[in-house]
Symmetry: C2
Subunit: 284 residues, 2 copies
């Protein structure tokens, strides 16, 4: 399987790593980058991550067989509206966004006849951002969630699965709505909380931060994640995230009540329950 | 400076590492261990972490020049009451507990004439526990908080400071009450939250856990910390922890409100504030 022209819309850590992996496994001939910052695109070209760049998304996607959306998820629909009129027949659009759900349906609805959208979400990248740390290898052994729908082209889906498997990823097919329920819990909630913990110390006395140990550093590492990226994720996965926050709040309130009541036994029981679950998924 | 007999009350990760460091730097001749589990004490002796052991704390501390409390903080007062009648004149008691505050005053009040208590808290250990991973080196470059009071013997304080500096730790002297305000925020709150996050996923659907990425793993690593240890810490630092939870809850509620209102701008501003603070203390 082979693509002639690949366009990366949003050349950040994940977009650039995808480009590097496509090159490494010789899955395409030519890579064009698109984005807001000409400095970043120039640097990506110098680093040979992309072969050329265009600031105009329509020009960047012109004649492409494969287009990867790797910008903050809140910008997807606007960009598709700009490029949809000039997409090449047979072209596949895919993405690496952390939100799927309704966004997948909206993207699909905007595809012209003979152009296909496949939602994707590689579980890679953590709190880093920017092309400096981009590597083809970040996808190896990482899960990549693909979210087909009833309207998905089997042929386009197979191609996208083939790409991620070639990268060394563990591909899982999940319904887009289910994806958003899962990731509200295991990713979006922890990010929101990490930001809230750090701001709590800011409210109390930011000089306390110099006393932080490894526990704090680990718990809040993702509070250095891109605010723009996470703003969009939280807004687009609003309903799932809000109901997950409610469940978290009940858990925290229960722990607070046990502390207030000096109920050591119930507190230890809750901690044990969490420890068993957490140890079940390993130390990493 | 040199001690003849050292007693470690509670031979876990930190107690055993303290013993190994005392040996490494030749700061004592003989080490006795005390604890609840004879299997653990036997193992510690086989591993040459301790020279002998006693299940009875009074016998274990008999004739000791230095006694380290490294059990869960909720057990300190009960153990001191058992040993206080037979402590050697000139003996120094110290500890590695995560709570200071009133506990330091209560410990001091139980010291017989000519016996000294110095509160200590090395910022080392994270979520691991048990003697298998004990090493003298875990204290190198780690902060160690020492909490003298108005009643503290200058001579005993100097000896404890000397020990930790010899171990390679960065010693900081802090008022016991201030210590508890700081660590409620930078340690006790994050631990409580990590347990609550994992239990939130348990409430939703624990099968979601297999989709967790690096962000979740980092944020919840400390949810595998010892439930018994953390139960005691939360109970003993109740007032500070409860007021810190309140501030955290306001922060989380504010973020939730911005999400509900689709207020991207305010959300991004809060995330940026947290990111700046978090990046100010490094990536580790």
């Amino acid at each position: 399987m082979h693509f002639n022209k690949l366009t990366i819309v949003g050349v950040g850590l994940i977009g650039a790593s995808f480009a590097l992996a496509m090159r490494k496994y010789k899955l395409c001939d030519f890579i064009t980058g698109n984005g807001r910052s000409i400095e970043n695109l120039k640097k990506a070209k110098e680093m040979r991550i992309i072969d050329s760049f265009e600031l105009d998304p329509q020009k960047a996607c012109d004649g492409s067989d494969l287009i990867l959306f790797a910008t903050p998820v809140g910008s997807f629909l606007e960009i598709v509206r700009k490029i949809q009129g000039s997409l090449k027949k047979g072209c596949i659009l895919t993405d690496v966004g952390s939100v799927k759900g309704r966004l997948v349906n909206e993207m699909e609805a905007l595809m012209p006849e003979g152009v296909y959208f496949i939602g994707g979400h590689p579980i890679a990248g953590s709190n880093r951002s920017g092309i400096e740390t981009a590597r083809a290898e970040i996808f190896i052994e990482a899960k990549c969630i693909i979210t087909p729908t009833e309207r998905t082209s089997k042929d386009a889906l197979d191609k996208i699965i083939y790409i991620w498997k070639t990268f060394g990823s563990i591909v899982e097919l999940i319904d887009p709505e289910e994806h958003d329920r899962i990731y509200a819990a295991v990713s979006h909630l922890p990010h929101l909380i990490a930001y809230a913990i750090v701001n709590t110390i800011g409210d109390l006395d930011s000089s306390y931060l110099r006393f932080a140990g490894q526990g704090f550093m680990g718990t809040t590492r993702i509070a250095s994640s891109s605010p723009e990226l996470w703003r969009d994720i939280c807004i687009l996965n609003k309903d799932n995230l809000l109901s997950t926050i409610d469940i978290f709040r009940s858990n925290l309130d229960r722990l607070g009540k046990y502390i207030k009541d000096l109920d050591s036994r119930s507190l230890e029981k809750e901690f044990n329950k969490a420890r068993r679950l957490r140890e079940g998924i390993g130390q990493n």
